[in-house]
């Protein structure tokens, strides 16, 4: 039997206060697709970063094709034939696809001049060979998420990697893109390459992986094959308990309108998509899901409702109140809540204490607001309440938000946004990057919010989530709402087809 492509032995990595990996062992055979699964915080990403040289382990060794190699930087990994596609793409937006691909391994002529012709030819050739077409001269900023991922894969292949690590590659893709990706992965393993990928989605894992390693609580707890296990059993290995499922719909939608957009159009600047003629009604006590491939106007839709983008025509109403001209602060005061996709960028002041983060977005609401003043005592008290109610694990409300883990940050944000008795809630990918336990908690929260009569607009790429908790699903494509579906009567595949415009064609 040949030496495995990759073997990790006794990897341990400690961070201040936490052990991310504890005596982790992993064996990946050459030419296979190997899935590493586990809850968020189980240590998968740390492990992959160790394998890619971005994190140096405290103990343990890494063997590539049977030989121990030093791994202190990505350069070492690249030299050993290992490449990585990160969950958050590592691309420079203002550079072209070609520049991003060749970065760090440029074909150069005399005195360091880049041989652009050679680079272009090689990229096109790689694209043809693996059937991953990309446009070398395009600016990355102009690319869709799926195309960016292709750039990332080409980037790795361009370096002649024999082992590809993909960190949650499907979380940002629509079903058709996922299919495309999985097909590509199979082609890669068919060519003798080795693929290691991290995933949450067990059906994908079962469909594409040759072998599966399960991690829990910083350890590898199981090693198995798809044929030997069901997704239920896998889930139980991951969390040690039942897999949560979205609650069924039990609540009556009320007749009053929470949020309404009347033929809203925007003019997109730069790379933004223009919204055209959006008509949208979310009633109190209703969750309306927005499905769509990323970059089709979801961000602009949210911005318009938040009041950060002014529509060129149309109206935005909260209930009967026309807020088209109203500032974000006014909309907030009228009961708008927002759980953003990128919590670091949009929802948190990372360098401020938790209780100060509690104020954010509520600086004009009681109990925190008292005229021009901020009631710090009330803010602290209410933060204590959220920490207790939402099980935010923190030693104190005085710690900086940056010190919390992602799941706890998200719980704090959800708790905060719910605090003001909102009328309208926009939830953008509320469970992305959140572990299974927290995911269930957030779904429960959303359902509770609906019961309380809030109009919820749920923007998500997770079709299971959309189908599971939405009352209605609208599909957005190139800035237009192109279809409305009953979640009870539609499957992910149909939805995916609508999202890509395949059904319209």
């Amino acid at each position: 039997m040949p030496a495995p492509a990759i073997e990790l032995r006794g990897i341990t990595k400690r961070y201040p206060g936490v052990v991310a990996n504890r005596d982790v062992n992993l064996r990946v055979e050459s030419g296979t697709a190997h899935a590493v699964i586990g809850e968020n915080g189980a240590g998968k990403s740390t492990l992959m970063n160790i394998l890619y040289g971005m994190v140096v382990p405290d103990e343990g060794e890494i063997l590539v094709e049977g030989a121990t190699i030093p791994m202190s930087s990505p350069a070492d990994a690249i030299a050993a034939g290992i490449g990585m596609v990160h969950q958050h793409f590592k691309l420079a937006d203002n550079l072209t696809v070609l520049e991003n691909v060749i970065l760090g391994d440029e074909p150069t002529g005399r005195v360091g001049r880049i041989d652009f012709e050679a680079a272009r030819a090689r990229i096109v050739e790689l694209g043809d060979h693996y059937r991953i077409p990309i446009e070398p001269e395009a600016l990355v900023a102009d690319l869709s998420v799926g195309n960016r991922q292709r750039v990332e894969i080409i980037k790795v292949l361009y370096r002649g990697a024999r082992v590809l690590i993909l960190d949650e590659p499907t979380s940002v893709l629509v079903p058709q893109e996922v299919d495309e990706l999985l097909k590509n992965l199979r082609r890669l393993t068919g060519d003798g390459l080795t693929v290691i990928f991290i995933s949450h989605k067990l059906d994908e894992v079962l469909a594409v992986a040759d072998e599966i390693t399960v991690m829990r609580n910083a350890r590898t707890v199981a090693h198995t094959r798809p044929a030997e296990i069901t997704s239920r059993e896998l889930a139980q290995l991951m969390v040690g308990s039942e897999l949560p499922t979205p609650e069924p719909r039990t609540v009556e939608v009320r007749p009053e309108v929470g949020l309404r957009l009347r033929s809203v159009s925007t003019r997109g600047r730069g790379h933004e998509t223009s919204l055209s003629d959006i008509d949208l009604t979310v009633r109190s006590g209703e969750i309306v899901g927005i499905a769509g491939v990323e970059g089709n106007g979801q961000a602009e839709l949210i911005e318009t409702i938040l009041g950060l983008t002014d529509p060129v025509s149309g109206q935005v109403l909260f209930g009967e109140e026309d807020v088209t001209e109203a500032a974000t602060s006014v909309r907030r005061r009228l009961g708008l809540a927002y759980i953003p996709q990128d919590r670091h960028r949009e929802a948190l002041l990372l360098d401020a204490a938790l209780w100060e983060n509690r104020i954010l977005g509520h600086q004009m609401h009681p109990p925190i607001n008292r005229g021009v003043w901020i009631d710090r005592k009330a803010a602290r008290e209410d933060t204590e309440r959220i920490v207790a109610d939402s099980d935010v694990r923190t030693p104190s409300i005085e710690v900086l938000a940056s010190a919390l883990s992602g799941g706890n940050q998200q719980k704090l944000i959800v708790g905060r946004e719910m605090a003001g008795d909102p009328r309208v809630l926009i939830a953008a990918h509320p469970t992305r990057g959140v572990d299974v336990g927290a995911q269930a908690a957030i779904w429960t929260r959303l359902s509770a919010v609906r019961r309380a009569g809030v109009a919820v607009l749920l923007v998500s790429a997770d079709l299971e989530e959309l189908i599971g908790i939405s009352d209605r699903i609208l599909v957005i494509l190139r800035g237009r709402l192109v279809g409305e579906f009953d979640p009870a009567a539609i499957g992910p595949e149909d939805l995916g087809a609508a999202m890509t415009g395949a059904d319209a064609a």
């Binding site: 500032a327 909309r331 002041l349 401020a352 509520h362 600086q363 030693p395 005085e398």
Partner: protein, 366 residues
């Protein structure tokens, strides 16, 4: 938590102390290598710097520095780089002097008018930079550099005999007419020297700035915008308005920089009016971490160094060693703060990590 608060306070104090010691050591080293007796020179400096007359002078100097520092800090809090403090305060104090000399009013009203004019002119001049930043996206770094030059030209034009100024016979100076004594801000005597009355106003402004930052909604929005412009915008802060308002506030504060001098001592604006506080203000703001109390500390330190360095001329030592010391202090304070910050974050992460694991363990047990 009380324990960690004390710890945190101590951590914050360590940074400046380390920085000052480091800068003093560096100065001593330079002195030593240039052949002076470092110990006795520094001893003389300290001795001179602690005489009552020196302390009063330091207080007066620090008042001006403090106002400049706060003007810088307001901008920094919002990630705005107001390089224009210099132009703003010169233009402001010039017009304040002109207006102050041209009216006759009862004392309190007169002073109030002068102060209001100064703030308005400073704010207005800064508003230009704010406006083109918000509407045209022109970086305030560029616009304020350019506006400083424009302010210089405007003052030069107006500060001429026959325009808004007069020339004293026999003197080479040109000055605006003197402000009548009803427009003076009385000082108070300490150790036979006079402390600017405006020092008290500066202290009050510092307190007001602190309250504004920490206790009001506006202050929260300002700080939030500085920490994350996007998060603040999402939370309902109009970031364009915020940029504009911050610029105006910074300019308004900058307008006051020359006022202690004008109302407490010169009573007129002339060619001999001090210039160049803009960058000093920014350095002091940085030194004080944009915190009202920290800026006060920075202003006092800076003023003390400037004052006590005067003795160096008499000792035959180049006074520029103090400038080098000031730069060293700014840098080492910042380095020290950064080290402290990292230590603090690590400590917090450790605490958080521990409590998360406790949570997990508890959960498992339950």
């Amino acid at each position: 938590m009380i324990e960690t608060r004390i710890e945190r306070l101590l951590l914050q104090l360590i940074a400046p102390v380390v920085a000052i010691v480091f800068a003093a050591l560096l100065a001593a080293a330079i002195l030593h290598f240039t052949g002076a007796d470092a110990g006795s020179v520094l001893g003389e400096v300290v001795a001179f710097g602690t005489t009552p007359a020196s302390l009063v002078a330091v207080l007066n100097k620090a008042t001006t520095f403090y106002l400049a520092g706060i003007a810088g800090a307001i901008g920094f809090r919002m990630l705005l780089f107001n390089i224009g403090i210099d132009g703003q305060y010169r233009l402001a104090v010039f017009f304040a002097a002109v207006v102050g000399a041209s009216v006759s009013l009862p004392p309190v009203l007169h002073v109030t008018l002068i102060v209001v004019v100064a703030m308005a002119v400073g704010a207005g001049w800064a508003a230009l930079a704010g406006y083109i930043k918000v509407t045209r996206g022109v970086s305030e770094v560029i616009s304020t550099i350019m506006l400083n030059a424009v302010a210089t030209g405007i003052i030069a034009y107006l500060l001429a005999p026959g325009r808004l100024a007069e020339r004293v016979a026999g003197s080479n100076n040109i000055r605006t007419p003197p402000i009548p004594s009803s427009g003076w801000f009385p000082g108070f005597g300490v150790a036979g020297k006079e402390v600017f009355g405006f020092t008290l106003v500066a202290v009050a402004l510092g307190i007001a700035f602190w309250i504004l930052l920490n206790r009001t909604r506006f202050g929260f929005e300002l700080r939030a915008s500085g920490l994350s412009l996007r998060a603040a915008a999402v939370s309902g802060v109009n970031s364009k308005r915020m940029i504009f308002v911050t610029m105006v506030m910074s300019g308004g504060m900058a307008g006051l920089v020359g006022i202690p001098q004008l109302l407490g001592s010169s009573h007129q604006y002339g060619l001999d009016f001090p210039a160049g506080f803009g960058f000093t203000g920014l350095a002091i703001a940085i030194l004080g971490r944009n915190h009202p109390l920290g800026v006060a500390f920075g202003a006092l330190l800076w003023a003390w160094l400037e004052r006590s360095s005067q003795i160096l001329d008499l000792l035959g030592v180049s006074r520029e060693i103090v400038t080098i010391m000031q730069a060293t202090i700014v840098l080492s304070v910042v380095v020290a703060y950064e080290v402290v910050r990292r230590v603090n974050v690590r400590r917090q992460q450790k605490l958080v990590g521990r409590s998360e694991h406790e949570g997990i363990d508890n959960g498992a047990a339950a």
